[in-house]
């Protein structure tokens, strides 16, 4: 179950001043594993993402505890080292893909800039960017477009392309499909599955939508008020929840069978 943990969180506490918002005893993400982090809005899921990236301070939060990447302790690293890791080894995509891109830059520019930031040469960057676009099933021509000229689904794919291009080992996906309609959602989920298969990417999939989590994830951790109330294999947790809150969440998912 735990295996060769790629990303390990232990005793993580995130606070705003004296107010603690997240307290995670133990959370592990293994190689080529998709771990779902489920819970309602405000349960602390997004703060966890920020903490992993070492960006909690940008919203004024303080972090304590251990976050390890392949055994290396991240919490103690200085910002310069963390910047090398961000994007390159741990990538992140967010819900609002439309606003996640700077409106005055062409999307391709963002990709090539990111590649060059992490050491690629000018020509390599262009090639790798185009290759990544193809891998997310987008035409490289779209790189010349501005964010306002692409759909939500396309933008989300470009965001994933960034992770692919940078060959990130871990992808933190914070509600990536919540703003998309169902058919587009399915495509993005397929893409994530492919990434896991083809390059062995580990994905932390954060969502309030249990139906999507059920479909995609190998393991699930359920979060409530900053605490993990239950975690385990998806099939087990979602079929036979041990914690009453998980059961509550499951109740609220509409199915074809339940009466409206």
């Amino acid at each position: 179950m735990t295996g060769t943990g790629r990303l390990g969180i232990s005793g993580l506490q995130i606070s705003f001043g004296s107010r603690q918002v997240v307290s995670i005893e133990e959370l592990r993400l293994g190689h080529a594993e998709i771990l779902g982090l489920a819970g309602e809005s405000g349960s602390g899921k997004s703060m966890t993402t920020l903490a992993i990236l070492g960006l909690a301070h940008t919203v004024g939060a303080s972090v304590s505890g251990s976050i390890t990447l392949d055994g290396q302790e991240l919490a103690a690293l200085p910002q310069e080292r963390l910047r090398e890791i961000r994007g390159r080894r741990i990538a992140a995509i967010f819900q609002s893909s439309a606003t996640a891109f700077n409106p005055v830059y062409r999307v391709g520019t963002v990709v090539t800039k990111a590649l060059r930031l992490h050491g690629a040469s000018k020509s390599d960057a262009a090639d790798q960017a185009a290759e990544a676009m193809r891998q997310v099933l987008l035409s490289p021509d779209l790189m010349r477009r501005y964010p306002s000229q692409l759909s939500g689904g396309q933008l989300q794919r470009v965001a994933i392309a960034l992770a692919v291009a940078l060959r990130a080992e871990i992808l933190l996906a914070d509600e990536p499909t919540s703003a998309l309609d169902v058919t587009v959602q399915a495509e993005v989920l397929d893409l994530l599955r492919d990434l896991r298969e083809s390059v062995g990417m580990s994905i932390l999939f954060i969502s309030h939508d249990l139906a999507v989590v059920a479909e995609l994830c190998d393991r699930v951790a359920v979060m409530r008020h900053g605490l993990i109330v239950e975690q385990g294999p998806a099939s087990r947790v979602l079929a036979a929840p041990a914690h009453p809150y998980t059961a509550e969440l499951l109740e609220s998912v509409p199915t074809l069978a339940s009466p409206l």
Binding site: F16, V21, S46, V59, G60, A61, D174
Partner: protein
Amino acid sequence: MIESPAVRPPRTGVARGRELRASLGANPLLTVGGALVLLIVLVAIFAPLIAPFPGDAGTATNPFAVLKAPSAAHWFGTDQVGRDIASRVLFGARVSPVIAIIVLVIACLIGVPLGLAAGFLGGWVDEVIMRVTDVFLAFPPLLLALALADVLPASLTSVTIAIAAVWWPWYVRLIRGQAASVAGRPYVEACRALGISRGRIIFRHVLPNSVTPVLVQVSLDVGGVILTASALSFLGLGAQDPVPDWGLMVAQGEGYFTPDWWLVTFPGLAILLTAFAFNLLGDGLRDRLDPRRSFLP
């Protein structure tokens, strides 16, 4: 979605008072600006009592005390006809800010109705008003004020009229934006559908929404008007002797400038301080009332 740490205190009386004090402390601009402005207003009101030589602000002259450097008797020295500069500077606080207020009131009286009409009625009314406004906005304020003040007899009234004539277009633009955005909202359509007259809609909905931006813009503009008015007076187009207008005093002192530096320094400092105070206040108000809007600079 990032969880933001908004800790909202309860809206009870005591807590609100604490919150207000805390926010004032967190907003140094507002407090410092407000305090300075208050000081200037008090000086203006109590000038006759504070000034050591109140007569000097009027027609008194002292031929034996001409061009004296700053001393214990005359803190800011005396001018070319022996008047105490400190007293004149203090009385000057009655001149500039008052002009600014009058100008801005006029600007609002003209600008607000036009802006409402343009924004709310739209169509060709909007087009016409906006083109006219564009033309007036094509002149930098001082230029048109200069031309106007030039053709009118030199006096404070002329300066006031000239600047007001130049300032109103900004308010048309400002209100128009507000009116147009409100006019497009669904609840306004609902009101129209219910048969409520446009006039009522403007009064009940558009106007209240516009008060804040106008208030902020006015407080930001006071400094600008004061600078423009003193510039016009400096050029001789405004106040005439013996009115203790700061700009005029600088102009009068220019001729004696190099040896007798105090004639120019102190009145100019007063202009600077007053404009500074009002700008601080305006900035602080904007931060407090509507931090996310971008206003006309």
